[in-house]
Amino acid sequence: MTIQEQQDEIIADFEYLGEWMDKYEYIIQLGKELPLIEDQYKTDGNLIRGCQSRVWLHVDYIDGKLVFTADSDAVITKGLISLVIKVLSGHTPKEIAAAEITFIDAIGLSSHLSPTRSNGLLSMVKQIKLYALAYQAKSIQQ
């Protein structure tokens, strides 16, 4: 599935969930299913500092693709992270660097990407993009 197809699927999923509380129930469920980062990677170096909740992000470079695992101390943030990972993880650095994240806005959670929200999600998306750019630059050099 491409990044865009994955985003479309999430948008379609959320369309079924009318009520806010239903959406959040789903996000919380996703948070609980998030492939957890291995403890050895839950380091200060992998910590993305949001104001209110902490987010750890780890990247592996496998067969030309970037695979992300993450964790957060807040469940809702964790759910949102799992959506971002679902969309971006397992793609090439080039695809990730070029991707436009539209689904968060489309499912009505754009406020979570506001810098004032400080829940770490925006910083995480930025960090994923930075990793992608770094690996892209590296692969061009090689």
Binding site: M21, Y24, E25
Partner: protein, 424 residues
């Protein structure tokens, strides 16, 4: 053109309280009549900012519609009216806090600016290498950082009055903590915990050693009587927007002798007497500290807010809010796993309930309350040292105002229960 008006003692209420009609009061705040995510708004973020009654909005509207003009400058009619309105605001503030002179009331942009002003001006003149500033362990960053900045500049350091498990200041070691201290700065009421601090005890101890005191009253002036002469504080800071007044406006009170000793803060218009390229002489109090065109509408709005609060009666407000605090803490105690951060005693608190439920992250709880139309604050409340003290990432804070009713509290309790089920 400093005028000195000595304000009488007659304004003190007699201590008896009248029961307030909260439903009638709520009608003065039209913003409360709205729905958020399909639910009637429950506004419990009053420690961040209170809503404004129509009387305040009207007064500001009228100022702009009828007399707006620059103050203290023009000889023309409107300028005179604007100046009168602006100075009337100052007089109302002076009366509200029982200042001896109106010129002891300086208009600023808020509590933060008031504290920065004192820290910068006092530090420049009185702080030497090796000196200390004493703050408390439950200060808002606004009453830590300005002191840290000037301390760093002058080679001075910060000392801290510790807090105990119940969110109370530990004063056993106060006498020895005061050694080498040049200024004591602390809050009347903690914004993160709601604790009401023993101001007089600290002031007495500080004054015994000749040390001045700055009191951050940002979380106090809307909940209880604050009398600067009775408390004998040397400086006092608060914000208009937490006292039902407009945002971006605040107060610094200082005893005349102290304000006269401090150098000016910012340079510009209004704060001068004469200017030549060789030498500028500064204006008298309060204008020495009010450089530039001030916020005239802000003064008018705060004046109207004070009129509003005084018409309700501070002791009535205090009584009603205490009853609600007891009701809220009692109702919230019934929630499994809920723990209050700070004093378990409602009478030791004003306006603020900080809490956590089990191991639920405050952000998750706040988010799910928001989606039920309930506005609370989550996080460290700009008091990170307090959170470090309790080893927690933050709290959920519900804070009340005079218009908060039992329906708001019932909705909060139901909202927490629903969120807990969802997160469970």
């Amino acid at each position: 053109m400093t005028e000195t008006i000595t304000i009488g003692e007659s304004r003190r209420p007699n201590g008896e309280s009248r029961k307030l009609d909260i439903e009638k009061i709520r009608r003065d705040f039209p913003i409360l009549e709205q729905t958020v995510y399909g639910h009637p708004l429950v506004y419990l973020d009053n420690a961040a900012t209170t809503q404004k009654p129509t009387a305040v909005l009207k007064a500001m509207d009228e100022y702009y519609n009828t007399i707006n003009s620059n103050v203290h400058r023009g000889v023309h009619h409107l300028s005179q009216l604007a100046t009168d309105a602006y100075e009337d605001g100052r007089r109302k503030v002076a009366e509200y806090i029982n200042a001896q002179h109106t010129h002891e009331v300086i208009f600023t942009r808020g509590t933060t600016e008031s504290i920065n002003l004192v820290a910068a001006c006092f530090g420049k003149k009185f702080l030497k290498a090796g000196d200390s500033i004493l703050v408390s362990g439950m200060e808002h960053h606004s009453n830590i950082v300005p002191w840290q900045m000037i301390a760093e500049e002058r080679g001075a350091k910060l000392k801290v009055i510790p807090i105990d498990e119940n969110g109370e200041l530990v004063l056993d070691e106060l006498e020895s903590l005061l050694k080498g201290v040049r200024m004591v700065a602390f809050n009347y009421v903690s914004n993160a915990l709601g604790t009401i601090n023993p101001v007089k005890e600290i002031v007495t101890a500080a004054h015994r050693q000749g040390i001045p005191v700055l009191l951050d009253a940002a979380q106090a002036v809307q909940h209880m009587e604050v009398d600067v002469r009775d408390l004998d504080v040397d400086f006092l800071a608060f914000s208009s927007h937490k006292l039902y007044g407009p945002t971006g406006f605040g107060i610094l009170y200082g005893k005349e002798e102290w304000l006269n000793k401090l150098p000016p803060y910012q340079g510009g218009g209004e704060m001068i007497k004469t200017v030549t390229f060789e030498k500028t002489t500064y204006n008298d109090l309060p204008y020495k500290f009010e450089a530039g065109t001030p916020d005239m509408a802000g003064a008018v709005g705060l004046g109207a807010a004070i009129d509003y609060v005084r018409a309700l009666g501070l002791s009535n407000i205090q009584h009603a809010e205490h009853e609600l605090m007891v009701y809220a803490m009692d109702a919230m105690s019934g929630i499994d796993g809920l723990r209050f951060i700070g004093s378990p005693d409602a009478s030791r608190r004003a306006g603020v309930i900080s809490f956590l439920v089990g191991s639920i992250h405050p952000f998750d709880l706040g988010e799910l309350l928001d989606k039920q139309g309930i506005a609370v604050r989550t996080g460290h409340h700009c008091a990170q040292p307090v959170m470090d003290r309790y080893c927690i990432p933050g709290t959920v804070r519900a804070s009340m105002a005079v218009y908060t009713n039992t329906v708001d509290i019932d909705r909060l309790v139901a909202g927490i229960r629903k969120a807990v089920t969802l997160l469970g």
